[in-house]
């Protein structure tokens, strides 16, 4: 297929946390709010005068500096983010708002704080306690935390307007980007999709680390372009897969998987769109913050939600994705040493294979993937086993 018009531009944006659009927004007087987890609703960080930047560490090589502060037994993603912070990669941030969700990410953010790696005059870090269940009690707690740990902090330190009207405006902008990403992602359901998983990952990842309002024109044009884009006549893949698991903020990993024959049709991972890029629906009667928090809790597919209902919901959600995106198999992944997804991967891989009948490849990943010949071999062998089993009609579901 011919390259998407804006692909190269978007790929370049992903080469640096402090990219051109971030700089443009800050030059216009807006605040860059660092974010490390989807449990802090992005839309709360998108209030007028603010924009969220989900932290990444593009082009990571060694993570020795991060390892010195966090030990070699902690999540590589957290170590890589700290490494980047030590290198000075996040000095542009005006604040970081982190959930008290994962102890390893907390250590990363805590080290950024203790080492004074972001040194703007009014820079602050705020931690919020976020629930591990999604019932009414949890919701009340969540709303309170978001109010005092996010909205009051932004308002108190920087005078950000956190009124209902401001929240509604933020939701409108957020929804526009989500609507475009969702519409683009729908093309992945086609028999011979007109967009690859890699291209989609570039688009989707960009929405997490750039001011969305500065990106929507490019997304809109891409959606229009896709409307008439012709896929190659022959299929360039041998199997379709759902990728499920923890942090994947590097589209090159998706490219590596696709280079081994598996088209990534659904992205159920941190930085993915399923969930993550749904529109927030607001009514006129209820408190806006309550409505936002309720929807985030309901969508939440983080492995940190440990009640049985949520665990089973995550598994059935992967099944739904596999069916609606016509996937032949599932790649279950986790960042090496990720506590939550380590458990989830062990359980989920077995359940999706034994109870749901899908071929499953289970892998733990380093943060920096590089060319990783071993991972290529694993994925290719997985694709070959799916291919052969499909030919022989041995898939049991």
């Amino acid at each position: 297929m011919k390259d998407l018009k804006h692909l190269y531009y978007l790929e370049n944006l992903l080469q640096d946390a402090n990219n051109n659009l971030v700089r443009e927004a800050q030059a216009g007087g807006r605040l860059a709010v660092g974010s490390v987890c989807s449990l802090i609703p992005e839309v709360l960080l998108s209030l007028p005068g603010c924009f969220p930047v989900r932290l990444r560490a593009p082009n990571t090589g060694s993570i020795d500096l991060g390892t010195y502060y966090m030990t070699s037994m902690s999540c590589e993603c957290c170590r890589a983010l700290l490494e980047r912070a030590v290198e000075g990669g996040y000095k542009f941030l005006d604040c970081i708002i982190a959930p008290d969700a994962c102890a390893q990410m907390n250590r990363c953010v805590e080290n950024i704080d203790l080492l004074k790696l972001c040194d703007k005059e009014k820079f602050f870090i705020s931690y919020s306690d976020v629930p591990m269940k999604s019932d009414e009690t949890a919701l009340r707690h969540y709303v309170k935390q978001m109010r005092i740990r996010v909205l009051e902090q932004l308002s108190g330190v920087y005078g950000v307007d956190v009124s209902d009207a401001a929240l509604r405006a933020a939701v409108l902008g957020h929804n526009e980007a989500c609507r475009l990403i969702t519409a683009i992602g729908e093309y992945r359901k086609e028999d011979n999709p007109r967009i690859t998983g890699y291209e989609f990952a570039v688009l989707c990842t960009a929405t997490y680390c750039c001011p969305k309002d500065l990106l929507v024109d490019k997304l809109r044009e891409t959606l229009d372009e896709l409307g008439s884009r012709q896929p190659d006549s022959g299929k360039n893949f041998r199997a379709r897969v759902v990728v499920a698991g923890s942090e994947i903020d590097n589209p090159d990993l998706i490219r590596l998987i696709e280079g081994s024959g598996a088209l990534v049709v659904a992205d159920r991972f941190c930085f993915g769109s399923l969930p993550g890029r749904q529109e927030i629906v607001l009514n006129d009667g209820e408190d806006v913050l309550l409505q936002i928090c309720r929807q985030y809790l309901a969508w939440g597919k983080c492995a940190r939600f440990m009640d049985t209902a949520k665990i089973e919901e995550r598994q059935s959600y992967i099944d739904e994705l596999a069916k609606s995106y016509h996937a032949d198999g599932i790649i279950f992944e986790q960042q090496k040493f990720c506590d939550y997804w380590g458990y989830e991967r062990a359980l989920g891989s077995r359940v999706m294979r034994d109870d749901y009948g899908y071929p499953v490849l289970s892998v733990d990943l380093p943060y920096a993937v590089g060319t990783n010949a071993q991972l290529r071999t694993r994925v290719q062998a997985f694709v070959e086993s799916i291919e052969i089993k499909n030919i022989q009609g041995k898939v049991t579901r």
Binding site: Q374, T377, Q380, A381, E384, S385, I388
Partner: protein, 267 residues
Amino acid sequence: MKYYGGCDAGSTYTKCAIVDETGKLVASVTSRSRINPVLSAQAALDEAVATLDDLKGAKDLAYLIGTGYGRNKVPFADENISEISCHAMGVHVVDPSVKSILDIGGQDVKGIAIDADGTVLNFAMNDKCSAGTGRFFEAMAHAFEMPLDEFSKLSLKAKNVIPITAQCTVFAESEVISLVGEGKPMDEIAAGIQLSVAKRCFVMAKKAAATDSIALTGGCAKNHGLKQAIERVLKIKVVDLPVDPQLMGALGAAEYARQKGLASAKA
């Protein structure tokens, strides 16, 4: 007569196998890999093809499949297949009764469960570290100042086992040098080395669903001491394959080439 080829461009050795239309192995070559997999594969293919009067070059093969880490660099290859699938098929071709494999190659270890038709049922891979692979044994043989083949037999006569505690190839080499310096018996140190690798294979063998028997493939399958240690640690029989176990990847690739070549000729 048509011929079909498989070329396993491995990290340490490049292997080439050629089969005829009936699936009979008619030529094979094993040679040390060079830094450039294209040159390694080309040389192995040329050498194998030269043994067959009907062929002038690799491009005369009716179908050629590349496998191994350099699989997408094999010249004239019609396609490439992962070494996991190829080892399974290679072993299935020479002994269909085998259901579990430990492939101990130059830089990784794989446990593979084989289905009744030679396809992969399940697999697991240890690729995080070279300890317990061919590179590890090469380093150990170097420390012992003896050829690999001689080292592989050294532990067979050991009456005791001196445990090796280091998990890293470099540190294990230092430990071995210290033990030799202390005057410990060489055969008992070698037995400790074989035991440590056998233990590393335990998890892979379990993931390959090995119960009562398993086949070893890859260059380390020729290590007699390792075979004995695996039988001891895993408490299962290691099946002796009737064809060079190091060739299994290339042979499996050649068999896939034969199947695909015949299928496309029919179509």
